[in-house]
Symmetry: C2
Subunit: 266 residues, 2 copies
């Protein structure tokens, strides 16, 4: 994900879009590989876009900066990154006109600010935005499919669910994720470390990670996440449960306690 | 900022560290220029570190991955990015020992997992962590000062306030920021766009940005942020207030309303 917007860099707005999309992808058995956040600045956007594309991800989602105001410059920045011009797109213009019409503004004037939302990089196509004015934008470069989505969470989520997710599922195939969180007490993270190492050697495909949650009344608390991803749901479930059981036994042997946080997500 | 940790990419943990640090820097009159988030993976960390350093920022803060568990690999990743080995640091080891001693664990064994937290890139020095075990790490490369801080918010904030902030202030000098938020109603963002453009031409150093907040009972709502940064506090205050007044007048002329959100932060 490439997130564009100064509000994300000055502590005005937390990047809830990255959080939401990360969770959504992880549940599908995929993952956000990297998130980069940059300022509303043509060169910053173009250069971060080029860097992201150079890593050849399957998908790059650019979020924010599609609106009518002068700080909205994502499409121009992406075009600069691709080395192509922007051009007024007839279909995008029609989508914008339809959006205003639906809101009872049949006669709204297509001012330069409104037309700007329809100026797409050459080779890109608009994507319906069911919740707002600025259309999403889709294009392909190398092996990467690029989507540009508005930063307003309601609009971003709506386009992502409707247009991006089905395409990702198509590439990914059917994947299943077993996710278990254990709450540990009375074991230091530094004492847990060799236990995790041993378990990771036993289950090389699995993800096992501890999150220290501080000390309460002298007792160290840790949340331990276990995730197994695979095509075979039953196998992923079984391996996840095996790891949870083995870790619980090992933590108890080291003098701590472990219980399931009920955080078992599909 | 370079944030390290899969929990940030799978929607497990929102990146509150970036939000906190961004706000803190903005209030000082500085800014987070870019935030990159990567997985717990040596190559990912090394390559994102090199990319960040190549942009020659004054400061690079790497957050997360300093602990004792196998997924904590930030120092090794940074060392790889710099092309230097990691080496056991005597001062870091002493800080770790002192931390355990303070918690009444004078006899704690320095296991490989605990020693790992003292294995710093050659040329780096440890920084006191008043709230946790793993020391912060400081180093210089090119014109950039690099800090590596733990991802646990309490520890990150404590080291940032105590060690990083004073150094940034030293480079920055005394800066003042005037920040005003106006709440607008009854004007579309696309109608506001030319008003903002005109105001930006009049105040080229200022930052003026609109955040659409949806439509309530058919009335479009927008939050408008105005920020002016400068060495002269009175001048920044005056220019910020001028812009707010001028924007209010223009929005009213366009048929909308504007009132201060009281969001005036130092």
């Amino acid at each position: 994900m490439l997130a564009v917007g100064r509000e994300l860099l000055i502590g005005r707005t937390p990047n809830t879009n990255a959080h939401w999309m990360g969770k959504r992808l992880a549940r599908m058995g995929s993952m956000l590989k990297e998130v980069t956040t940059v300022d509303d600045d043509l060169d910053e956007i173009a250069s971060a876009f080029r860097a992201a594309i150079a890593r050849s991800p399957d998908f790059l989602v650019v979020v924010g900066g599609l609106g009518p105001t002068p700080d909205d410059m994502t499409l121009k920045g992406v075009a600069r990154g691709l080395g192509v011009p922007v051009r007024k797109d007839a279909k995008a213009l029609r989508l914008i006109r339809e959006h205003y019409a639906k809101r009872g503004m049949q006669t709204v004037e297509l001012t330069p600010a409104r037309i700007k939302m329809a100026r797409l990089p050459v080779g890109a196509e608009p994507v319906v935005n069911p919740q707002g004015t600025a259309p999403g934008v889709k294009m392909a470069t190398g092996k990467t499919t690029v989507y540009c989505l508005p930063g307003v969470p309601l609009e971003m989520r709506s386009i992502f669910r409707r247009s991006v997710e089905p395409e990702i599922r198509g590439v990914l195939g059917k994947m299943h994720r077993k996710y278990i969180t254990l709450k540990l007490e009375g074991i230091l993270e530094s004492a847990l470390a060799p236990v995790i190492s041993a378990e990771m050697r036993k289950h090389p495909g699995a993800y096992i990670k501890s999150h220290p949650r501080g000390v309460r009344e002298g007792v160290s608390r840790i949340e331990l996440d276990i995730a197994v991803v695979g095509e075979d749901a039953m196998r992923a479930d079984e391996e996840g449960e095996d790891i949870a059981r083995e870790m619980t036994t090992a933590v108890r042997a080291a003098g701590g306690t472990a219980k399931s946080a009920g955080g078992i997500r599909g």
